[in-house]
Symmetry: C2
């Protein structure tokens, strides 16, 4: 019954037809930039669009430097490495996130340590985390270590879930007190601001994703954001195989990566970035229309931006009441059957086979929300 009410509400906003969870929107500008890129023959790791995309991203997000890379996972891996994470460190990440957040930690030989989230932001809860660390963290040289595992606590990765900024002020305070490098996973939150400042610009480094399902896309792509010029230079060096500048010699001074964004993908990105303000307006309108349409359904809440925040509303999100949690699967089944693509939250990280042995804080809110989230069709242009 609640399923029928939800479908009626969604149809009232969207009309008839099939609706993807999130599709990109392209104009003549995307076609034109990509054509120019191909005509220039500079389609690969060097080119004017890469430089321009980096400059425009930095300007838009308010950081000094952006380094464009092949995807958001690569961005996070390199950002964590540059932030000082080493093999066998622990890195605090939310239990509710896309698996890339945890994978990036693992690629460095470090261990994710899963922490709980809060219902108002869907992101890390600084109060719960502080309580947890009070119990398990002990000073060890310049850092803290987990006294249960003996491992150094190297960094913390707040992720801005579905585009909603987490409590950055709270996270910065915890990071400061426990000497954790703070690296923001802003893969989902391009266009989202916390107290007027762009997400991804609060930590030592931040990362973005331009995968096909994101608010803007480069096909595949990501970026590292930082206002530290030295870290930015290092990020660029590491992501371009750590080759030393020379007219012809091939000398690499550390183990780098082939992570540079191709110019072809950056051409698409430049065109997409120019559409971002319009995408943001459209997504906000969609939120307002869904909000009005769903207002009278008991036990169903549409996720709104946290106070003092401006969300990009990347994915519209229904949060069901506890009483409705056991109807989530029916809602997913029926909406998908009628052509309204929906999906649940990701399986929590500590439930995945490769991560089930990792350290965990108490995760009661994440475990509750995992059963109660339904993402709705959210593409720009639907409203």
């Amino acid at each position: 019954m609640v399923t029928d009410s939800i479908i009626t509400a969604l149809r009232g906003v969207l009309g008839n037809g099939n609706f993807a969870l999130h599709e990109p929107r392209f104009t003549e500008k995307e076609q034109y930039y990509v054509q120019k890129c191909i005509a220039s023959t500079y389609v690969s790791s060097v080119g004017a669009y890469v430089d321009r995309f980096e400059k425009e991203l930095a300007a838009y997000t308010g950081v000094r430097r952006a380094v464009a890379v092949v995807n958001g996972t690569a961005a996070l891996q390199v950002a964590l490495q540059i932030a000082g994470v080493q093999a066998n460190d622990e890195v605090i990440v939310p239990a509710l996130t896309f698996v890339a957040t945890a994978n990036a930690v693992r690629y460095l030989g470090a261990v994710p340590h899963f922490a709980d989230i809060e219902e108002s932001t869907l992101g890390l809860d600084p109060r719960a985390l502080r309580d947890w660390l009070k119990g398990i963290a002990e000073p060890a040289g310049d850092a803290y270590r987990n006294r249960q595992s003996g491992r150094r606590l190297g960094a913390i990765v707040p992720m801005h879930t579905f585009g909603h900024p987490c409590d950055l002020e709270g996270m910065l305070a915890v990071a400061h007190d426990y000497r954790l490098a703070l690296v923001e996973d802003a893969a989902e939150s391009l266009g989202s601001r916390y107290q007027g400042q762009h997400t991804g610009s609060f930590g030592l480094l931040g990362t973005l994703s331009f995968n096909g399902n994101k608010i803007i896309t480069t096909g595949g792509g990501g970026a590292i954001l930082t206002s530290d010029e030295h870290l930015a230079d290092h990020a660029k060096h590491l992501t371009t195989t750590a080759k030393m500048p020379h007219r012809w010699d091939y000398v690499h001074d550390e183990i780098g990566y082939n992570f540079r964004m191709p110019n072809l993908n950056a051409a698409l990105g430049c065109a997409q970035l120019s559409q971002l303000p319009e995408f943001l307006s459209s997504k906000r309108r969609l939120f307002e229309r869904f909000q009005a349409a769903l207002a009278d359904i008991d036990g169903v809440r549409l996720m709104r931006e946290p106070s003092d925040c401006e969300s990009n509303y990347w994915l519209q999100t229904l949060v069901l009441s506890d009483a409705l949690a056991d109807q989530r699967d029916e809602i997913l089944q029926t909406t998908n059957d009628v052509g309204l693509m929906t999906r649940p939250a990701w399986r929590l990280m500590h439930r995945l086979v490769p991560y089930q042995e990792c350290p965990c804080a108490p995760l009661s809110i994440a475990e509750s929300l995992e059963r109660r989230i339904v993402n709705l069709p959210s593409s720009a242009g639907l409203a």
Copy 2:
């Protein structure tokens, strides 16, 4: 003086103007496919061009399956992982190669073990390797280990330098006798054949690169080749974040990678692949013209395809005599100054800071060739 003779010979073939080392060539087809891709909105990790590119690559190289990924380094990393390489294994790679070959080994926590090459192929020398292994390898369970380091010898990675196939028959025999998984780094040798069979199809797995400087390009890209369906399925699973197939659930059963080639890049690749036969003919003509023009210069040999092989002549390569080795830098300097882009061989891997502690076989041929190689302008379309 030899520099002047070389420049005169190159100008005789190329004419006046500036010539890059290797530029891509695009036609209307590249523009058309990429436009169609953008119009479809499927620019990211799923799409018809990715599927088509994989099918056409498999058909062209004569393997059952090709898995398209973000670049050649990622292809090699995943191929080695699937071939069974584990942390702390040693993997035999040529000392003369692009750094990606060694990096892919390191990303898995394994250790590259550098071996010598032969002058006739510029690739691994199976006789020298067999002599070396006779001295250092001892049986240990199902495999062999390096008795000097105590580490298991996990795999061997022949690389087909500048497009010239190495002695695959010899390498397969060594790999068999020492129970080494053989993974071919065919990044440079799309279109090259050994005894009529395509390079990259001899090992358990092979890898290709479509970086901007390769014989065909996808902007950035690579592929894993194999005729083992099970390994191919695993490669695809690992390169797509190891997500289990499900209509909406996000469950990942191992630590995967975000390595899928975007459809936008595959669109470019499909168009490029249709030009490959023409590129191969043009490069062979260029070899013949350079060969004729350089024939009378003492101490200078133009690298030709090894016997029983068909090379793609990706990069035309001058090999200087010992006596001329100390004139290499002047040749590089002067040719680049006059707009003929040339470059030396890569710095040998064991001389790079991150790899200087790795195990090494005697490397006298690699060390000699390192001082005597000059790559010439090689783009398709120059002849």
